[in-house]
């Protein structure tokens, strides 16, 4: 009973939020422009979260996202010189590079993954800040892609591919098994290093795409590009009910539900004109509440 309740809390939260905001904003929430805003605002986190799910499923946290985003944007910008297609591909290439580095530090260096991620995060942000300090990195042509259909297309493609990989291939299934019981996974013939690395690579791909989207929204690469991306993704996934230690209960739908909750909450509170001083408190309370209910403590107890 409790398990089923826990599973529906995120979705229930989303539904309630939508209902509440729809009813109390005189139609502003449900206007076409607003829905469009929400989709475009949530795209970056949504895309990055798809890849992060793979990493979280095998019981790791990827803290490199922000730095990887910054680094990928900078590197891609410098090399592509403004060609949007090349920029896109390079963002992904460098994103994958960051993912590979993080996983190598973690696996070969035997450093806990979250620490490895943070190293990349600091390194990436440092490199980005230095690079940005010496030249301006405007990419005005990118802003021409700042429209709803491009974003919907990207979201759809990324989520669909992510969903299929996660649920219908070894890559995704093994992540869940490794997260549930790494020892049993190894003894079932699963190469833990190989699959962990694959998860980080996938996360790298999505962070590259997220970097690309960020530049489209921002029109430039700055020292703050991707700031707090890893925290936003983690929050969004938590709101979506993703189990903290991964495992078989990890679901791709947490990406959608959680990201939407996060951005709808942000959007709705602004529409309300809630006193600015309360906004953070309300957000924090909502997060705390949803996450506490969703955490599956039963997974923590040892058997017997």
């Amino acid at each position: 009973m409790r398990k089923q309740f826990r599973k529906i809390v995120p979705l229930a939260g989303l539904v309630i939020l939508i209902a509440v905001f729809s009813l109390t904003t005189d139609g502003k929430f449900t206007s076409a422009n607003n829905i469009r805003s929400i989709i475009m605002q949530s795209a970056i986190v949504l895309v990055a979260a798809v890849g992060t799910v793979f990493v979280m499923a095998h019981n790791n946290l990827d803290f490199s996202l922000g730095g990887a985003c910054a680094f990928s944007s900078v590197a891609a910008y410098l090399i592509s010189g403004g060609n949007m297609y090349l920029f896109f591909i390079l963002c992904i290439v460098f994103g994958v590079l960051c993912g590979l580095l993080t996983s190598l530090i973690h696996i070969k260096g035997r450093v806990p993954a979250f620490m490895a991620g943070m190293c990349i995060m600091f390194a990436g942000r440092g490199i980005a800040q230095t690079a940005v300090a010496s030249r301006s990195m405007l990419l005005v042509s990118a802003t021409k892609l700042n429209n709803l259909w491009v974003f919907i297309a990207i979201i759809a493609v990324v989520f669909t591919i992510g969903f299929i990989l996660f649920n219908y291939t070894k890559i995704g299934k093994y992540q869940k098994l490794i997260g549930t019981n790494p020892k049993a996974a190894e003894l079932s013939g699963i190469s833990i290093s190989k699959y962990k690395m694959l998860a980080f690579i996938i996360s790298g791909v999505t962070v590259g795409i997220a970097a690309w989207l960020t530049i489209i929204r921002s029109g430039s690469v700055s020292a703050n590009t991707g700031l707090n991306l890893e925290i936003d993704v983690l929050l969004a996934l938590s709101l979506g009910g993703i189990p903290m230690s991964g495992g078989s209960a990890t679901k791709m739908r947490s990406v959608f539900i959680g990201t939407l909750i996060y951005f709808i909450l942000n959007n709705g509170l602004t529409l309300w004109g809630l006193n600015a001083n309360y906004v953070d408190i309300v957000k924090a309370a909502f997060f705390l509440f949803t996450v506490t209910i969703s955490i599956d403590r039963s997974q923590k107890t040892l058997i017997e």
Partner: protein, 499 residues
Amino acid sequence: MEEVVLRAKNMFKDFGATKAVVDVTIEVRKGCVLGLVGENGSGKSTLSSMIAGVYPPTKGEMTYLGKEYKPKSVLDARKSGIQYLTQEQGTIDGMTVAENIFLGEEAQFSKFGNVNMRKLNQHAREILNNNGLDYVDPSKPIEYYSFEDRKMIETARSLSQQPNILIIDETTTALSQKGRDRIYEIIAEQKEKGTAVVIISHALDEIEMLCDEVMVLRDGAYIDTIRGDEINPQIMRQKMIGRELGGLYYRGDVESTYEEEVVLSVENLSVGGLFSGISFDLHKGEILGIGGLSECGMHELLKTVFGAIKPTSGTVRIIEGGIHLTSTAVSVKNKVAYIPKDRDKESLFQATSIKDNIVAVSLDNLKTGMFILPKAEKKMANEEAARMEVKMQNVEQLASDLSGGNKQKVVLAKWLANNTKIFIMDCPTRGIDVGVKAKIYKLMDDLKHQGISILMVSEEMIELIGMADRIITIKGGKQTREFIRSANLTEADIIEAIV
């Protein structure tokens, strides 16, 4: 007949819709060792739990030392003189040995709420010494000690306040031979002192050795009480299951039968500090048993053969194709299976569906193009689960919900699904009740006749003698002897080679 210390009359216990104990009456006598046997779900643990104060009966009365007995908790029962030892960890992390020994009874050492640690440790020291645990330091945190030591400390605690009744519930299963022997000693000592002992165990030979009287339960109800000479494993098994075991329990034949062809060859295998220079060949259709004491290195040996531990020297080779087993992935790819001793921690994905457990190693075989379709997974899972007769609601059920025996069936199903040619099994019937055990033995026999090879480690001598074509013994990490299957082989023979 000795004096009755405790009588539990017409006991009933319901858990929701499950009737765990149905109208059972039990008498525990002074200086008597009473065995409680039955398959999983027979109610034996539930019954003893009620006596030990874990929970109250749904119906029924207990009289203890002539008075009405209604314990409010285990602590309460303990204070009255009824001590309860179980299979799980009974000591608490985060406290010292001494604190654990006097858990709940610190009052006797405290003034105004402050516990006098010196006195506590002193008294703990005494208790430890009295129980052969001189090497244990009462001031050390309990986590410092191994599972077995902790169990011994727990036992010492139970004995420190001379109990009237000592209940031992499957405690010996998780212990080494040394630990088990110590428990047997304790039982003998307590019996001498007049303590009433109740022992619950799946190891029927243990029961045969220790008990004066054995009560058999099945499906929550009382079946029979056997005494004296009647106490032997065969009769006990019969009563537990309620039917003749088709004559066979282990293998029917008494000869070693296997083909000439060698399928797996282990040469000079060593892992520093654990075992060294192990060599043997596994033949097609052979059941090769490995026996030894718990810490002789044989468990790690199996893991190394499977590729989970890197050897410091030596090779493990599959003859067909000359492939070296260097990692678990390679082994699985070459149709080698490994069934770990610790089912819950090492072979099962607990919070995962039975289906996902069963298909876990066979994903490559299930692919349609690039993807694995849920329909194919379900089909395979249903087929294999049916083949093994897993008792479950459906394949989507979580594996953690199953009983020990069914969990092992799922593990076997997993490897069978992959068309395994070589099985490496570590204590495959550990902690499983008789009915399922019999099924597993039959399965092993069937596999053998299909030409599948089995490498098996077991801590039960009888199991090895009953099932293996050959038995290799390990002592202190080194190979000692090899025994061929024969009707004259006895436990004593093997034990000689392993201690």
